[in-house]
């Protein structure tokens, strides 16, 4: 065995260390510029999670809203759920996209933890998620009354994040 090979773990660790170093304190990066901001919400023809009725893009129009991408397999979604409940109580309109999930589990989740959503679009294969450029859950989009995406937030929604987003939300019509 050549000694050179013994340096492989060290080099691998150095790369990892560099990655850690560069990712420290990236919290301000949560509000991402997305190519979709300023674009109309991608058109869809899907079914609702609970009632299984057909639902399409037009259902989003009328009043500004948050579109929240979530799943029962996602611990971060669990963490933000209480905050979504609070927002809904404050009269903020939230539509969910149940992303790559199972209907039964999602149903139970909403019964157990409360349902902040006006309705949920059921997206078991992540088709709508793909159109929206979703990398994982949770993600939240701010959509105005004409169905145009105004902002996107990746990661959990909490009081601190909402402080930043609220101005955009209030400015939407």
């Amino acid at each position: 065995m050549k000694r050179v090979f013994l340096f492989i773990p060290l080099v691998a660790f150095a790369v990892l260390g560099l990655l850690f170093f560069l990712t420290i304190d990236r919290e301000n990066k949560d509000v991402l510029p997305s190519p979709l901001v300023g674009q109309p919400f991608p058109p869809f023809e899907m079914s609702k999670l609970l009632t299984e009725e057909a639902v399409s893009t037009s259902a989003l129009q009328g009043k500004p809203l948050l579109v929240n991408v979530w799943a029962t397999w996602c611990p971060t979604c669990k963490a933000e759920h209480a905050f979504l409940n609070m927002l809904a109580e404050d009269g903020i309109r939230i539509v969910g996209i149940n992303y790559k999930d199972e209907r039964d589990k999602a149903h139970q989740w909403l019964t157990a933890y409360g349902n902040p959503y006006e309705f949920n679009v059921f997206d078991p294969e992540g088709k709508l998620g793909l159109d929206l450029g979703v990398y994982g859950a949770p993600e939240t989009f701010l959509v105005d009354s004409s169905g145009v995406i105004r902002a996107k937030h990746v990661g959990d929604l909490n009081a601190a994040v909402w402080q930043k987003l609220e101005a955009t939300y209030q400015g939407m019509k």
Partner: protein, 665 residues
């Protein structure tokens, strides 16, 4: 006591801080003097190692005890106490609040490092002085780094003066629980215990003697740390199960992954050390595993609180400290990997072995464990990499981890027993054939029938899970049968290492059965129930008796009472609660569980609904306890192996040493 602005203060925190500073000074001396002694071959300087290790342990313990005292007397002039305690907090939780947040858990961490150092100094009569000096020296360096980190960025004794808060902010309610009194210290003992193994590996590399004696010294320490890790992880899983109220016992959360990775690597290390000791093989590999195991422990302890990874468990994260942590990690891990690259032997080991031999099976075991650890590392870091590339923050789902982990565990369970049964160097298939056929037949029959006995329908996962467990148990029993020449009752007269090994392996099978059954036959329903309602699920009738209100010492809660019936027989009275803790206003779900060897009945409260009804979550989880029972078996197995008398044979160790010309202690 002195008087300041009319408030009475004790000087206890200053003594705590002073003890911590003294511990730092000792740690610095400890990381210099022994090495100077080694350099000059000066036995006197080297013999400083033991008293230095003892002094360090003493100062750290004093410091930790003082912090505990500050909590007990409600000294809210100490910022850390004010943030994490409250006069209404029950005293046991005041003590556990010591490690309830970052500063205190760090102090606990370094104190344990000191205590492990003391243990090495104490139980090292057979160790050559030069080896001991290097080991204690390495521990001193690690300790100095982390005490400095504590003092500089996370001082638990910092005061809020002059305006002392009249009341504290209370301990995070998630942590006000028995599980959280015992889980972190146990897990930390495991994490920190791996530092000893690490120190042995570095000392052996520095001294250029990666031999059987080194492996034999390392083995009991590795096993001790591994036992703590095993118990710690099991406790954490148990705590999450009853305290988070979701009924899940493993979430593939970064904090959990951080504890599982060092466990997997430590498990590989245990087996690799056996090969190095008995056969003189895998030396470079074993050293590398020792470095990895400790590095992953550091990663586990610190990464989650550096702000690098986010986690639902991370109750103590702070990006401010991230850079310091990274620098420390870089020094510890990078430094040791550099020493490894420069000093590890490049000559191939002399021993030979056939492909059908214990060595081969242990190599396969090592590879599977390492691949599993690597898969988890990748899954844990993937969100970080995605984030780094500017593609957002995400959670990697449990589905991914299960897809990776389940097949690896199946393969591992299949080869464990065979590895134990086979011989060193070379074995004949014909010798093993009969035993393996017997085990395979048993596995196929029991595994094949099990889903039909459980619920009458075909289920491949259950057949597989139960089948491989029966396979492993059968082979283990055959092994005992052969070793005792057909008299299983003579099991107690076999060597403790063998007893321990068999018990630990059976523990793996027990856990696999538990995981399989829980994953496949758990029933859960979320239902709307009002007092007086009944609901029937998987043969049990849940009767909602009444709803009420309870006032606890520092919380008040909505509680409900359920009777659970199996047919007409009442089997349990369960009282789940939903608690609101006053100080922080946070709400916690307290599940009520009726535990049994073959099933757990689990009731937790969801949201209140109209007309006094509640969203209730009812669960029946068969074989839940087996998951942790297996971990208990493994821990007892480890304990037995550690106590084997051959690790106390001082003479053999030192005679090896005199041959190699080093100074015995």
């Amino acid at each position: 006591m002195f008087d300041l602005y009319g408030d009475t203060l004790t000087t206890a925190p200053e003594f705590g801080q002073l003890a911590l500073i003294l511990a730092f000074v000792v740690a610095v001396i400890q990381s210099v003097i022994p090495f100077v002694g080694v350099q000059r071959r000066d036995a006197l300087l080297m013999s400083w190692s033991r008293p230095l290790a003892a002094a360090q342990a003493l100062f750290l313990t004093v410091s930790l005890v003082v912090l505990g005292y500050c909590f007990v007397i409600d000294d809210f002039s100490v910022t850390y106490v004010a943030t994490n305690s409250n006069t209404a907090l029950p005293t046991p939780y005041k003590i556990s609040a010591v490690w309830g947040a970052h500063e205190g858990s760090l102090l606990l961490w370094v104190t344990m490092l000191g205590l492990w150092g003391l243990a090495v100094a104490w139980f090292s009569k057979g160790l050559p002085l030069i080896m001991l000096a290097r080991v204690i020296g390495v521990l001193g360096i690690v300790s100095a780094g982390f005490i400095l980190f504590t003092l500089e960025t996370s001082n638990p004794f910092a005061r809020t003066l002059p305006s002392i808060p009249p009341e504290g902010g209370d301990l995070n309610p998630l942590l006000q629980d028995f599980g959280l009194i015992v889980h972190p210290p146990t897990l930390y003992m495991g994490y920190v215990g791996l530092s000893v193994v690490f120190a042995f590996a570095i000392a052996a590399l520095l001294g250029g003697r990666l031999d059987a004696a080194w492996a034999r010294w390392s083995r009991p320490w590795t096993t001790a740390a591994w036992v703590f890790l095993t118990i710690g992880i099991a406790l954490g899983s148990w705590w999450a199960y009853y305290e988070l109220g979701w009924g899940g016992w493993w979430f593939w959360d970064p904090v959990e992954n951080a504890s599982l990775m060092p466990w997997l690597v430590a498990t590989a290390l245990l087996h690799s050390l056996a090969v190095t000791e008995k056969r003189g093989l895998f030396k470079s590999w074993t050293v590398l595993l020792a470095i990895f195991a400790f590095s992953l422990s550091l990663l586990g302890t610190f990464l989650v609180r550096s702000g690098v990874l986010t986690s639902v468990h991370a109750f103590a994260s702070d990006p401010e400290r991230g850079v310091f942590i990274l620098a420390l990690l870089g020094l510890c891990v990078g430094g040791s990997l550099l020493i490894y690259a420069l000093k590890a032997p490049t000559v191939a080991s002399v021993g030979r072995y056939e492909w059908l031999s214990k060595e081969s099976f242990l190599m396969a075991n090592n590879l599977l464990l390492l691949v599993a650890a690597f898969a988890i590392l990748l899954g844990t870091l993937y969100p970080l990499i995605i984030d780094f590339m500017g593609m957002g923050k995400i959670s990697v789902g449990a589905a991914w981890f299960n897809t990776m982990f389940v097949p690896l565990s199946v393969a591992l369970t299949l080869i464990i027993g065979v590895g134990a049964l086979s011989r060193w160097k070379a074995d004949q298939a014909s010798r093993l054939k009969n035993e393996l056929i017997l085990a395979a037949v048993l596995a196929l029959v029991v595994g094949g029938l099990s889903p039909f006995l459980a619920d009458g329908s075909l289920n491949w996962q259950v057949m597989m899970g139960v089948g491989i467990s029966v396979w492993l148990i059968a082979i283990s029993l055959v092994d005992i049968w052969k070793k005792t020449r057909g008299n299983l009752l003579r099991f107690g007269s076999l060597s403790l290492s063998f007893q321990g090994m068999v018990l630990a392996h059976i523990g793996v099978a027990v856990s696999v059965i538990g995981v399989t059954m829980v994953a496949n036959y758990s029933q859960e329903e979320s239902v709307r129930m009002a007092p007086g309602d009944s609901y029937v699920m998987s043969g049990y009738r849940f009767e909602f008796v009444e709803a009420g209100h309870i006032d606890g010492p520092n919380y008040s809660s909505d509680a409900t009472r359920f009777r659970v019936f199996d047919g007409d027989r009442e089997i349990a009275l369960l009282q789940p609660e939903k608690r609101r803790y006053h100080a922080r206003g946070s709400v916690m779900t307290e599940a009520a569980i009726d535990a049994g060897l073959f099933r757990d009945v689990y009731v937790s409260m969801g949201e209140p609904l109209e007309d006094g009804a509640w969203g209730m979550r009812l669960q029946v989880k068969p074989f839940m306890r087996w998951v942790w029972l297996g971990a208990i078996f493994m821990s007892i197995g480890g304990l037995l192996a550690m106590l084997d008398k051959r690790y106390r044979q001082v003479k053999r160790a030192s005679s090896d040493v005199q041959k190699s010309g080093e100074v015995p202690a």
